[in-house]
Amino acid sequence: MHYSFTSEQAQFRDVIRRFLGAQSPTVAVRQTMGSARGWEPALWQRLNDDLGLAGIHVPEALGGSGFGHQELGIACEELGRALACVPYLSSAVLATQALRHGATPDEQAALLPRLASGRATATLAWMEGPHWSGCEDIALGARRDGDTWRLDGCKRYVVDGITADHVVVVARDDGRDDDASIGLYLVDGEASGLRRRALASIDETRRLAELDFDGVTAQRLGHPGSGAAALARTLDDAAVALAHELAGAAQALLEASVEYARLRMQFGRPIGSFQAIKHKCANLLLELELAKAAVYFAAAAREAGDADSAALASQAKAQASEAALACAREAIQIHGGIGFTWDQDTHLWFKRATCAAVLLGDAAWHRERFLALTEVAA
């Protein structure tokens, strides 16, 4: 298999990059990240009205543009590059993919068009503790109450959990402990019994929340027993999307560092003429290019439905997160003292890289998973 981009895909990337360059420069990012909501509805709506971003990978019949994982990846990469504050990962990736993998056609038709158009946002609540090892971690319980269901328990690290109009919740049928008891449930963001509390994050450009469920009314999604598989596919999609974001962030960091090293003078010469800096940048480029190869390949594999696409998702997330952390650390180092000041932009990406590295599993976790999957396949 190969990966490559068509000229249409390259053009799509250019359009997003130009749009975000104009609409979401870091001065705007700083403003939005300091706001109460944490993301900018006007920007979100233009991203969707003008570029159709939230539905880029959603079938046309469901209100989307009908493209695939590679276009989704391009969107994520550019959003990560610009650090745009919008509920893309939460709504367009996590919730949208959870619905596509786990909801019935009717349920999808009822909700996806509004998510694809950006008129509503949603998120996925799956984690409860700080380390995810699989469905066995799910304790939040669902109990039948006539025609509907009620949820009791707590979810944490819910991306954009405060602002989401809808929350897809991963819960367990009362009293059972196998994977077949895992289901997806749809909850209204304003439902009674749902207490949403903001969690302060190092990365102010992406908000997190803790959601407490106290007998919250929920709609059960999809067919019984399908929740665990739907969740697994969703998390792999999200890992690949987040890996794209990280690749975009790393690229932005490296470019800024190279630019700074070209201009900054010390000892009568640009610091970029010193091998210490040159070789640092070259090593970062290598690490980033290797990561990008894995990321693009993973997207192509998901699009093709390849058997090893789960292993590739883990590889992409592991490599992209380490490349982004390395670029972030060294970007500050190359900028020197100015690099750790608030007014210089580098720390914004540093914080994104720091948080995204552990969101959806850290590199060591993904390496172990990659090997377990590869081992079986080999």
Binding site: R156, A200, S201, M265, I332, F340, D343, D362
Partner: protein, 417 residues
């Protein structure tokens, strides 16, 4: 020195303290007595508030102070660098005017070396001082100045000659920080704190008698300050620990320490808090993770080895052997420790590593650690500069060819801001 010397000195200081120490005394008054007796800085010359005793005896004298709970002279902040520089390069007038008030804590000092355009390349400073026959006029901008916002005096490195090579065109001044031509602004860091200031000079004035050393000899004078900065780094940490005793003089000292140490708020995290790692790993159950165990073992080994290395350097120093550039090895090791500690704390915390403030692990301390790491390998001289120092001064590898050896006027440099 022999044991007899130490015993005699200990007896003498003990007697003096017995006669004079009183925790109800006013802090400045007590320190004045210390300065005048020579027991506050016993290794300084007799002529200037000291007793000409060897440095190696200071530990014993400090121990006697601690035994009775006696407060010492003011030592934290930049003041001891100012004092050491003036002792070596200052005139008698300088010493008479500044040293006593340094020791009593009445005056606070700051160091004005780094600039936005010259960080690693300290000698590339472009803040200028021009002499009109009567006084010096200073214009320019300094950066990374700790404590400038409450300093009475600044140690200023400024360019006085643009037509000679860069190290030869600098002069060293004591500048009054309270004058109108000096503006101090805090610099907010990525972790939200402001440990440093930037200082703007707009036609600030320096009288001719405030020149330290000769015109054009500023670089050599600054080297003295920097050498003491490196030497004092350890001691500063110790001096910054306030006594927990009760009493008026202790309250005053605690207030002083709190004031001076405030900008260093993120310094305690600089080592990455290795001490917490094993405990956190056990408490979170992550100690069972074999991949994490490898990284944790690496961290603990690295951290212990660094301490032993530092211990060895300290032993050499205490034995009176020259310290040399081995300090760069320790500084570099600290960067590695901090980075590995951040990685380990992240792995222990999992998704909790994203959380800051009260929501974060240990009430936000882990987030602090993660955000403070990048400064470790920059502040006080970047890792790249340390590597150069080690390569050239420890290993004896050849210097890089210089491109900035000609008249400073012609050296390519950063545009003024």
């Amino acid at each position: 020195m022999s044991d007899i010397d130490e015993r005699a000195v200990r007896a003498e200081v003990r007697a003096w303290l017995e006669a004079h120490w009183d925790p109800q005394r006013d802090l400045v008054a007590w320190r004045g007595m210390l300065a005048d007796s020579g027991w506050g800085v016993p290794h300084w010359p007799r002529a200037w508030f000291g007793r000409d005793l060897p440095v190696a005896l200071c530990g014993a004298i400090e121990a006697e102070f601690e035994a009775v709970g006696a407060v010492g002279v003011a030592r934290i902040g930049i003041r001891m660098l100012a004092a050491a520089t003036l002792l070596e390069h200052g005139t008698d007038a300088h010493k008479a005017r500044f040293l006593r008030r340094i020791l009593t804590g009445e005056d606070t000092w700051c160091q004005l070396f780094s600039e936005p355009g010259s960080g690693s390349d300290l000698a590339g400073a472009t803040t200028r001082a021009d002499f009109d026959g009567a006084q010096w006029t200073v214009n320019g901008q300094k950066l990374w100045t700790t404590s400038a916002h409450h300093a009475e005096w600044g140690l200023l490195l400024a360019r006085t000659d643009w037509d000679v090579p860069k190290h030869q065109g600098l002069s060293y001044f004591v500048i009054d920080m309270t004058q109108p031509g000096v503006t101090v602004q805090p610099v907010k860091q990525m972790n939200g704190y402001a440990s440093f200031n930037q200082v703007f000079f707009d036609d600030a004035r320096v009288p001719p008698e405030n020149l330290v050393g000769a015109v054009g000899a500023g670089w050599q004078v600054a080297m003295t300050t920097l050498a003491h900065e490196r030497r004092n780094a350890d001691a500063l940490r110790r001096w910054g620990e306030a006594s927990t005793r009760a009493g008026r003089i202790y309250d005053e000292e605690r207030a002083e320490i709190a004031n001076v140490m405030a900008p260093y708020t993120w310094y305690p995290q600089r080592t990455g808090r290795v001490d917490l790692a094993l405990k956190r790993a056990r408490e979170t159950g992550r100690l069972a993770d074999p991949a994490l165990r490898q990284e944790l073992a690496r961290l603990l080994m690295l951290s212990r080895s660094s301490e032993w290395l530092a211990q060895r350097a300290r032993t050499a120093r205490e034995a009176g052997r020259p310290e040399g550039p081995e300090g760069s090895l320790g500084k570099l090791a600290a960067s590695h420790v901090a980075r590995q500690a951040a990685a380990v704390h992240t792995a222990i915390s999992g998704a909790d590593a994203m959380l800051a403030g009260a929501d974060g692990p240990l009430d936000g301390l882990i987030a602090e650690i993660l955000l403070s790491v990048p400064a470790t390998s920059i502040a006080g001289g970047t890792d790249e500069i340390q590597l150069n120092i080690i390569a050239e001064r420890v290993l004896g590898l050849p210097r890089e060819p210089r491109l900035d050896g000609g008249p400073f006027r012609d050296v390519p440099r950063n545009p003024e801001r």
